[in-house]
Amino acid sequence: MGHSEEYQKLEGKIFTKSFFILLSVVLLGFYFVGVRYVKGIGAVSNMSDGYPWGIWITYDVATGTAIACGGYAVAILVYIRNRMQYHPMIRSAILTSMFGYGLAGFSVMVDLGRPWNAYNFFIPSKWQANSAMFEVALCVMAYSTVLILEFLPAILTSIEKSKWDRMNAIRNWLHPKIAPDKKTMEDKLEMVRLGAAWLNPRLNKVLIFFIVLGITLPTMHQSSLGSLLLIASTKLHPLWHTGFLPLLFLLNCVFIGYAIAILESIISSYSFKRPFEIEELSGLAGLIPFVTVIWLTVVIGDLSYRGQIHAALKGDFYSGWFMTEFLLVACGSLILFVKKARKSARWLFISASMIVLGGALYRFNVYLIGFNPGQGWRYFPSFAEVMITVGIVALEILGYKVFVALFPVLPNMDLHGAHKKKGHAKKHKGSEAEKHLPAGEAHAH
């Protein structure tokens, strides 16, 4: 398949200024995580018995995993709809998914009051299949494992090709007395290399079954994330409480997934000073309206079926948030109906941002804003609580930056975008992109 040549490592230093800025944010967040474990959740967060789920669940888990659905959405496109021209995008999408889900799992462990009992998820007598959370927990754990397996070829390939420069540098840096013997070290590294070379083709053969599992699992748990709030029929505002929550959450994560794949690609092209992959992006962008239109239709149809249209137009607190969410997704999609907008990096960026924001706001509305446990309860996250979430997001970005430098993740420019380089020298113009060959053709050769 020649996958390894399809991707390349990012040249450049890892320890840049932004690395250390991100690192300090991460450390601050982890300081508060430490406080939480010593003094209890109440010491760092504003959560209460009325609002037992704060931003850790709402953002890190419910919204974070939707934002991490880029891998899911692109995998559907490539493997199920057979658009192999998007294959070069999949590794970076899977990488962000891997960090997104891994860190969602991490923040669950921060949020759980009694995390040491979490082993009960693996004890069949404790299983509780009625609980949507049981389904979400198992699925998310399984999916995180699948994501690691999906990303493994990138790591194995780079081990196979590695000259162990960094390892040797570390060895040379160590004091001779504690440094391992050069010969033994080389032998051991050679064994690792052989192991990787042995595993890589075998993994590649069965990888497709894991990839498909990686499409099935998010379908299950993303809809279950909506099912979680089905039970709160007296607390969740009627604008959002509906039997269609699972379907809405599923569609929501698909369009967020495509939009975030566009945003990621634009942002990483911009910040790593690589050419924009405008052909692929405009193709992706063309898919979003299909999904959002279904989503918007279900939302309106359901509201009118339940006779809640008036609540949406009331102009109060809840209808305001509903309209914001609805209009962000609707207007973001409208932009994408214009062919010219789909070819412009700027407009793609604007519309994808609106769709991600609107889609994420929907999840905030369901989990927090539309959630009213009764009189006398209020919730607004505390500084420490926010910093834990910000720290986790910073860790995600940090991990991404390090991984794209260590492993072949980003699309190989020499292979499929060589002729784009010139166009990028000045800021990208949409018209230039149209001249380029479809990336799929370039990559097939």
Binding site: M1, G2, K39, G40, I41, G42, M47, S48, D49, G50, P52, W53, Y79, I80, R81, N82, D111, L112, G113, R114, P115, N117, A118, N120, F121, S125, K126, W127, Q128, A129, N130, S131, A132, M133, F134, E135, I208, F209, V212, T216, S223, S227, L228, L229, L230, I231, A232, S233, T234, K235, T242, G243, F244, P246, L247, L250, G374, Q375, A444, H445
Partner: protein
């Protein structure tokens, strides 16, 4: 080719995903009704008899203090622990008496504690079966040794009963368990019902309590709002209420007769019945993906041959 595959995909997605979910939502609307077990244990609280002495609260704390490692709640100015006035149910308070005063003449006490639902939401949502409902007694019980502390029970409970110990590094959920391991085991009655000097709390089987409540409504209809709260709310509760003021003013929410857990479980069960839908989805997707891969590989090989 591409056109067909897109249509196939949309068909597939429509059939497996949306169809199933829509079925679930549709089925859930048709209530099959749930079996009410009137032999379960419960309590009847008559707000018109309550004198607000809070003897039940202190008895509850005295009796249950060891179980679940609760300690007496202490006010800062009260070093001897003689004075205790919690303002709400909390990680150290399982039952609470409150006064709702509308005017000098219209007021009522109200007692809060677990409603011991016939179909409890907390049991339905607990992912690791830490919340359980006993088959015979109907007591909704909590096991801290299984609990992972996810607080989904708090989200689910329409009465906001389960409370979490936010201030502790080793927290747990706290709620009334009808003195299951303490007073009920020793004396066969809950501590609050035992000590109530005004006979405002009656302990017994649900059917006896219901009969008693309806008798009181019949005997002195002027005294009460003509409704036994908990008889039908959320599928029925074993903790029942009589009062002279509308129940929603006393902080007891208006809840439809269908248990919220019935609604959510029906949707969840329709999607995951026998795990057929996920398996079908997986195998269909596998089929498509493998076919696509083969097609693509064949394509690649052709190119390579051409190159040679």
């Amino acid at each position: 080719m591409k056109k067909t595959s897109r249509r196939d995909f949309l068909k597939l997605a429509g059939a497996t995903g949306a169809g199933l979910l829509a079925c679930g939502a549709g089925n859930a609307l048709a209530n099959e009704g749930l079996q009410v077990n009137n032999d379960e244990l419960g309590m009847l609280y008559d707000a018109t008899k309550c004198v607000g002495c809070k003897a039940c609260m202190s008895a509850c704390k005295r009796v249950n203090s060891d179980y679940g490692s609760l300690s007496y709640e202490k006010a800062k100015f009260d070093e001897d622990g003689l004075w205790d006035a919690p303002s709400d149910l909390s990680g150290s308070t399982r039952t609470l008496i409150k006064l709702f005063k509308e005017s000098e003449k219209r007021w009522s006490y109200v007692k809060y504690s677990c409603m011991h639902c016939q179909k409890p939401s907390c049991v339905s949502v607990c992912p690791v079966s830490a919340m359980t409902k006993e088959k015979i007694s109907g007591i909704v019980d909590y096991n801290k040794n299984t609990c992972i502390g996810c607080r989904y029970c708090q989200i689910a409970c329409p009465y906001n009963i389960p409370k979490f110990q936010w201030e502790k590094a080793v927290p747990q959920i706290v709620k009334c368990d009808l003195c299951k391991a303490t007073n009920l085991r020793e004396k066969g009655i809950t501590a609050c019902a035992e000590v109530c000097p005004a006979a405002a709390i009656k302990f017994g089987k649900r059917k006896d309590l219901l009969e008693e409540a309806h008798q009181r409504l019949k005997d002195t209809p002027d005294k009460y709002v003509a409704h036994v709260y908990g008889e039908h709310e959320g599928g029925g509760t074993n903790h029942l209420y009589l009062a002279s003021m509308p129940f929603n003013k006393l902080g007891l929410p208006e809840i439809k007769p269908e248990a919220p857990a019935e609604f959510s479980e029906k949707i969840q069960h329709t999607i995951y019945k026998g795990f057929i839908a996920p398996l079908a989805l997986y195998s269909t997707l596998c089929f498509i993906a493998v076919k696509n891969m083969k097609k693509h590989q064949g394509h690649d090989d052709d190119h390579q041959k051409g190159d040679k």
